[in-house]
Assembly symmetry: C2
Homo-oligomer: 492 residues x 2
């Protein structure tokens, strides 16, 4: 039986009405505090078919200002959504700071349906559970309030409701085959639900199991934890969270200072190798496409290190329908007001496609760290959150290649000076570049830490020696083709 | 197969030596920082029989100052330990601030053995998992570092090691029947281990699965996460933790101001009822003893409210071999330097016994809160930690009764004045009592919050109207006998 984690005792009719009214008044007042403090709130409704999730949603939001909330009803993933990582469509929906999101059926429904219909193995189920726990924790670590309600009704009650809906021509459409299947297989479903609830109930985002037999009482079971949760989150507002322990397999990496930047290639060799590698890349792009392997290539590096030219040598070998170059600038206001990874979750490629990021989510632990655009706790937590993010991509099947395009300080100065003195290249150099250059030591320190802490086996960093740009381009092509060959062979 | 959550890649022999040496040097230096910052560290070693836990322990601590650590080897619970809550013997062991505890086999071994030997049901297993997750989270929330290592070897390797031990007369004693059973049922054990590791791996205290085939390599897999974990914990030191959401069933409770204190009883009725109730209590004490029901009675209340006299009327009905009155004063240094609930975990009664606490763990949210003996975050977190603590007691089978002995301000003043003027009672009144009295409003506010947040269904508060002490004594006896009758009937 599904255990009632609920924190309430059913009161008498009169007290129920009084407390319901009180909770609604409190929620109304909380709207403004939520907006002022920039608290993002995600409320998930899950439960049995015909348990009344939709109706309840209407009641909960009845006094809320429609500018402050969004309500979404999630359905089975579309064909396009199936070509993204499991969590992608949920992460894309997370609210901005100061807003509510009400989600009617979400990641629980998707996973339990997959289990009930034998679409996923125990191993994949476990991966999903880990993903969900990391997802929710990452949200609450970043100041989100996550409230999850499960609407519980008995087999008999569900049958009664389904029959009543079916008996009426105007409501019969609300009942689908799955609802009927669920009722026939109630005991089996209950077991799967129960295990899922247990597996994903954590202290920071526990499940509230709602006895949904009586609608008024169900409403109180939602309203009271909702306002109590918001009050608590308002108290927690702007608290730092303790760093968590790394559990991802890390590769030992050299420091930038130990990189040999004297590597070069002759122009002749360059031209030969470029042609060969690009031709090989073209074939591999095709094969990856057919095998539906998603490929994510992340570029970071010093200003004037040659990122642009390097990327160009990759893309010129690719079919334009199968890749996208995504330039990353500083976050826009609607991006800043969400989890820092949101703008990357929403830019992921479909399976079979390449996404090449020109600058990346690593801005968090470099420019945002050094310019104070986020708190120390924020960037300290980010290493692990980034490893978790890339783990999701890797579990999804993505090939992940991360380049640090490296040059020494003298080479950078020479290139800056050349840009400055060449009217055609002047647009490429700004005051900011010069300012960043002055902080080279600080940046180098941050880059070393970043590379040491985020070179996982599933998403390693590659340092491209780019004093000789030609050499770096060939190396990049070698690394990309090498990684693709491995992936293509593994998934024949 | 047991998944390797481990964050390391096996290096070559030479690099291994180098990194091992580096980690040992770092650990040596960390000792002093741990002491200075008062970080408590709990390291748990679990794993297959003959996987080398004991030997490894010796290697890890080889450079540590023996004054800074304790190593304990936990065995199957003794008969006395079985009469305490499951977590009790682990909670009792937690280290003081600034010290290491190394535990060889602990809560994992106990639970998986119980599962493998069919001693606990799935339901109890799930309760254990919840208990363990709350236990570990409560430690890390309170600034403890908890590091858990699982020593993994293959069936073949285990067999080889057991055979080698048995072949030598000097080592054969190290192998017990359970080790042999484990090897014969390796696959079954592995499944149970795997599920347990998954169930209890959390972001704040993850499992590190150690490939223990080669001893040197195993050592590195322990030393590096150990020093990294300590470095991280030193960084986290003194961070506040976000409050977590309540998930315990709460009873609605009145505010103190709404309590009717005019209730009285005539001396005649008092004497009759006292005799009857005490006689009934005597019988129930006996029945609870025979049914092995542990009973915990917690007294809090205003100074001069009559706690002492009230307790006396209970105890005078009890067989002295079956109860203990535990007076709680301010914590001693060795108590202050541990989790605030430690001194209560170590004072729990055995099953079948009564423990009557004269002042309790609720000091945290009253005197410690109001006198600033702990941080705001500490007492804010304490409500939930107390509910969790009492949940452990309740799951164990304890009857929990909590009394707030209540008088109004005028009555208190009259009793203070009487004490002051009566040479025989002067010892009962101190300057501190008068100082506390001045803060009555602050205390009343704190008491109201405490009662509202910790009146769970399994450990409810009872407010004793004690302007008339006789009335309060009869009420207390009625409540205690009532609760015992229910418990005794339920467990016939």
């Amino acid at each position: 039986m599904i255990e009632n984690y609920n924190a309430l005792i059913k009161p008498g009719e009169e007290e129920l009405e009084k407390r319901l009214e009180k909770a609604h008044r409190r929620l109304f007042a909380q709207q403004m505090e939520i907006k002022e403090k920039g608290l993002p709130v995600l409320v998930l409704f899950e439960g049995w078919g015909a348990a009344g999730k939709g109706t309840m949603l209407g009641k909960v939001i009845r006094n809320l200002d429609p500018r402050f909330f969004t309500a979404v009803s999630m359905h089975a993933p579309s064909e396009d959504e199936k070509r993204k990582p499991f969590l992608c469509r949920y992460f894309s929906q997370i609210p901005e700071a100061g807003r509510f999101l009400f989600m009617d059926s979400g990641w629980m429904s998707e996973v339990v349906h997959d289990v009930l219909q034998d679409r996923i193995s125990t191993k994949v189920y476990r991966e999903r559970i880990s993903s969900i726990r990391r997802f929710e924790r990452s949200l609450t670590d970043n100041g989100y309030l996550v409230l999850k309600f499960f609407f519980q009704i008995s087999k008999k009650e569900q049958k009664k409701r389904l029959d009543a809906l079916l008996a009426n021509k105007d409501t019969a459409w609300q009942v689908d085959d799955y609802d009927l299947w669920e009722n026939r297989h109630y005991d089996k479903c209950e077991k799967v639900f129960d295990v899922f609830l247990e597996d994903t109930s954590t202290s920071t985002s526990p499940w509230y199991v709602v006895d949904a037999q009586s609608r008024k009482w169900a409403q109180l079971q939602i309203m009271e934890p909702l306002v109590a949760g918001i009050d608590m989150a308002l108290k927690n507002h702007a608290l730092t969270v303790p760093l968590i322990q790394n559990t991802f397999p890390l590769l030992p990496m050299p420091k930038l200072v130990d990189i040999d930047l004297d590597k070069t290639i002759t122009l002749e060799d360059y031209n030969v190798e470029l042609r060969q590698l690009q031709s090989r890349l073209r074939e591999l792009h095709n094969q990856a496409y057919r095998r539906k392997i998603p490929v994510i290539i992340a570029y970071e590096g010093w200003d004037a290190a040659g990122k642009g030219g390097n990327i160009k040598r990759l893309t010129s070998a690719l079919d334009p329908r199968g890749y996208e170059v995504i330039p990353i600038a500083s976050p826009k206001p609607h991006e800043k007001s969400r989890h820092f990874l949101w703008r990357f979750w929403t830019r992921l490629p479909k399976t079979g496609h390449f996404a090449i990021f020109d600058r990346t989510w690593y801005g968090r632990v470099m420019v945002e760290r050094l310019e104070g655009f986020c708190s120390e706790n924020d960037w300290q937590c980010a290493y692990n959150e980034i490893n978790e993010f890339e783990k999701e991509l890797s579990d999804w099947g993505a090939v992940i290649i991360k380049f640090w395009v490296h040059i020494d300080s003298d080479t950078q100065l020479a290139r800056f000076t050349e840009r400055q003195n060449n009217p055609e290249k002047q647009w490429k150099i700004t005051d900011e570049d010069w300012r960043n250059r002055e902080k080279r030591d600080l940046y180098e320190n941050a880059v070393n830490e970043m590379i040491a802490k985020t070179s996982t086996t599933y998403a390693p960093w590659h340092i491209l020696e780019s004093n000789d740009k030609h050499y770096a381009r060939i190396r990049a092509l070698q690394i990309v083709t090498g990684a693709l060959e491995t992936a293509v062979n593994e998934r024949k």
